[in-house]
């Protein structure tokens, strides 16, 4: 899938803003992960050398997205894991009446020589939207 059909980076004065698309919520969330990491590294050149499982729960879809993306920021900050692909992603109703997301992501550990050009500090709720129409569009602002 071409990058521009997955997501688009939008102008935002100080931070990173993007819209990600998908036929389903799952696909849009997966593309949002790629959009976010594109602000830090070139994910198209990352080898799928390692896998990580992500599991998050939230009472609503917005918070589910923020928590999911927050996990990816954490994997990078704490484990130096560079995401290159979302291999699996499923969203289901949780036992507590909210949502549960399970994903398997692939990537490689950070090594010398790899250029990391941006620093996503946090995922925000600012201007966060999830729209259903002809497919799903999510919009996210990250603090950089």
């Amino acid at each position: 899938m071409a990058t521009k059909s997955r997501y688009r980076i939008l102008p935002h004065t100080a931070d990173g803003k993007f819209r990600a698309y998908g036929r389903t919520l799952e696909e849009a969330y997966g593309n949002a992960a790629l959009a976010m990491v594109s602000l830090m590294w070139d994910w198209t050149t990352i080898e799928p050398l390692e896998r990580r499982e992500i599991r998050v729960e939230a009472p609503d879809r917005e918070r589910l997205l923020v928590r999911f993306l927050g996990e990816i920021v954490y994997l990078f900050d704490h484990e130096r894991f560079l995401l290159g692909r979302v291999a699996e992603l499923g969203i289901a109703g949780s036992a507590r009446g909210g949502f549960e997301l399970r994903a398997v992501v692939e990537g490689e550990p950070l090594r010398g020589g790899r250029e990391i050009h941006g620093d996503v500090k946090a995922v925000t709720y600012h201007d966060l939207t999830i729209e259903a129409g002809d497919g799903i569009t999510v919009q996210v602002v990250v603090d950089m």
Binding site: P11, T13, A14, D15, I116, G118, A122
Partner: protein
């Protein structure tokens, strides 16, 4: 939203709708043109709606849109009826600036500039994903969160005099690590003593011009050509995670759904949640103080090795520009304690405030305003009028006007380095794309920002400094 002009540098959004107080914007017509293009004014008006806000919702001359609160926003809240908000502090808690003076002159460093910069680049870890040199245990980290720069000094990084010349003496006393998540601790452990990336930098600078000789002398700034060192960084992943955690936790509270922006989430200052955030924020502030204390120590070591001697590298001051603090101010003719939020704003206490170090009490607190990469930075002094004008606050930097994405499209890092080299400025970075994102064209004109600050009386101009060597994360 159309602000009403009060004078050349002051604009007001009158109280309307749910606003409890008016919003006041300190800006020139030129700076306001940029401010109008984004959501800064709307955000300042939203802040004016929050419970317990005192006097005004203030906007500093370098303001731009943030999330919830604008960057360059100042708001003070009553301790009993008011709130505390992680969005009013920002994600990079105690992002701040430290300025060291030296006895070296431009002549002393001219031939050694590259060597100095290379040495600093080796000693101070920088860039995204770069770990620190120290492997901390969790218990040591918690000790640092409570003690801040005091911990660093006790462990051989710098001197007690540095602490006297740091806001809060480098340690916010209300800090507690008890309510900081494991995740925040995990992000904090590998990053202590690192510069980070984005707009964070370390500069070798020379004094270009002195505007206020008396204040300059008090600050240890003697003459044009004198070398200074500036460090701009914050609390790294630990602070970002504390902010993220408490925005999440406060989102569960009732009343959040009515907020015009979820990033305005807050808790009553006196509530258990408000106290937990405040104490955790103080801990993140302390982490950043320790971080800058360690970095300054390594810079001193490199200077001593390369140039010989101690070089008189005393600290001028260390300021926080993303923080909430309990301070005493006069409201309605009566002194009271308030929780003052400064998000992308610098405290500018005037003469005689007890918080100002003794050596500076006659002239006011040093206010350090960094410019964008490769441009001038300024040293100002806090004023008495600022108490009345802005709860003793002024600008914190140049403030962005262009998105990183757009900057990346327009500029090339290698080219920026060549241009700076022609002006006699050495640049080193871990990422050329990162350099392009921080191109000075992407920022407001810092000269205009400090001019407005000076004319309004938020902070008085003391000296202008220009870079000779820039290290960008």
């Amino acid at each position: 939203m159309e602000p009403r002009r009060i004078d050349d540098n002051t604009w007001e959004i009158p109280k309307h709708g749910a606003m409890r107080v008016p919003a006041v914007i300190y800006s020139s017509a030129k700076l306001l043109a940029d401010v109008r293009r984004d959501k800064t004014l709307e955000q300042a008006a939203n802040v004016a709606c929050l419970p317990g806000i005192e006097r005004m919702s203030y906007v500093m001359p370098d303001a731009h849109q943030g999330y919830g609160f604008p960057i360059g926003g100042v708001a003070a809240f009553d301790l009993e009826d008011g709130i505390i908000s992680p969005g009013g502090v920002g994600y990079d808690i105690n992002c701040g600036v430290r300025l060291l003076k030296t006895d070296y002159t431009e002549e002393d460093v001219r031939e050694k500039r590259k060597e100095l910069l290379a040495g600093i680049f080796r000693e101070v870890p920088a860039g995204v994903g770069k770990g620190g040199v120290t492997k901390l245990s969790r218990s040591v980290l918690k000790d640092i969160l409570v003690k801040g720069a005091e911990w660093a000094v006790a462990n051989g990084y710098g001197t007690g005099e540095d602490l006297e010349r740091t806001e809060e003496h480098g340690r916010m006393k209300d800090a507690s690590a008890d309510d900081i998540s494991d995740r925040a601790l995990e992000r904090g452990i590998p990053q202590l003593g690192t510069l980070g990336a984005g707009n964070h930098f370390l500069e070798i600078q020379k004094v270009e011009e002195i505007f206020d000789p008396e204040a300059a002398r008090a600050f240890g700034v003697r003459a044009p050509g004198q070398i200074l060192v500036m460090v701009h960084c914050g609390s790294r992943g630990l602070g970002h995670q504390v902010a993220t955690d408490y925005i999440e936790l406060m989102s569960d509270a009732p009343g959040v759904r009515d907020l015009p922006d979820r990033e305005l989430v807050n808790a009553p200052f006196r509530s258990p949640m408000g106290r937990r955030y405040y104490r955790s924020m103080c801990a993140a502030v302390n982490y950043a103080f320790a971080n800058r204390q360690m970095i300054a120590h390594w810079v001193r070591q490199v200077f001593a090795r390369v140039l010989g001697g101690s070089g008189g590298m005393d600290q001028i001051y260390d300021v926080c520009h993303n923080v909430a603090k309990v301070e005493r101010h006069v409201v309605g003719g009566r002194e009271k304690d308030l929780v003052v939020h400064r998000k992308g704003a610098t405290r500018s206490f005037g003469p005689h405030r007890p918080e100002v170090p003794g050596a500076y009490r006659a002239v006011g607190q040093p206010v350090i305003i960094p410019g964008s990469m490769g441009t001038a930075s300024y040293l100002l002094a806090g004023t008495r009028e600022a108490e009345e004008l802005s709860f003793s606050s002024t600008a914190h930097g140049a403030g962005r006007v262009m998105s990183r994405h757009e900057a990346l499209r327009r500029f090339r890092g290698e080219r920026i380095r060549e241009d700076l080299a022609r002006k006699g400025i050495e640049l080193r970075s871990t990422s050329w794309k990162g350099v392009a994102e921080e191109a000075s064209e992407a920022y407001k004109d810092v000269d205009e920002v400090v001019r407005v600050s000076h004319e309004v009386g938020l902070g008085r101009l003391v000296a202008k400094v220009v870079p000779l060597g820039v290290m960008k994360g």
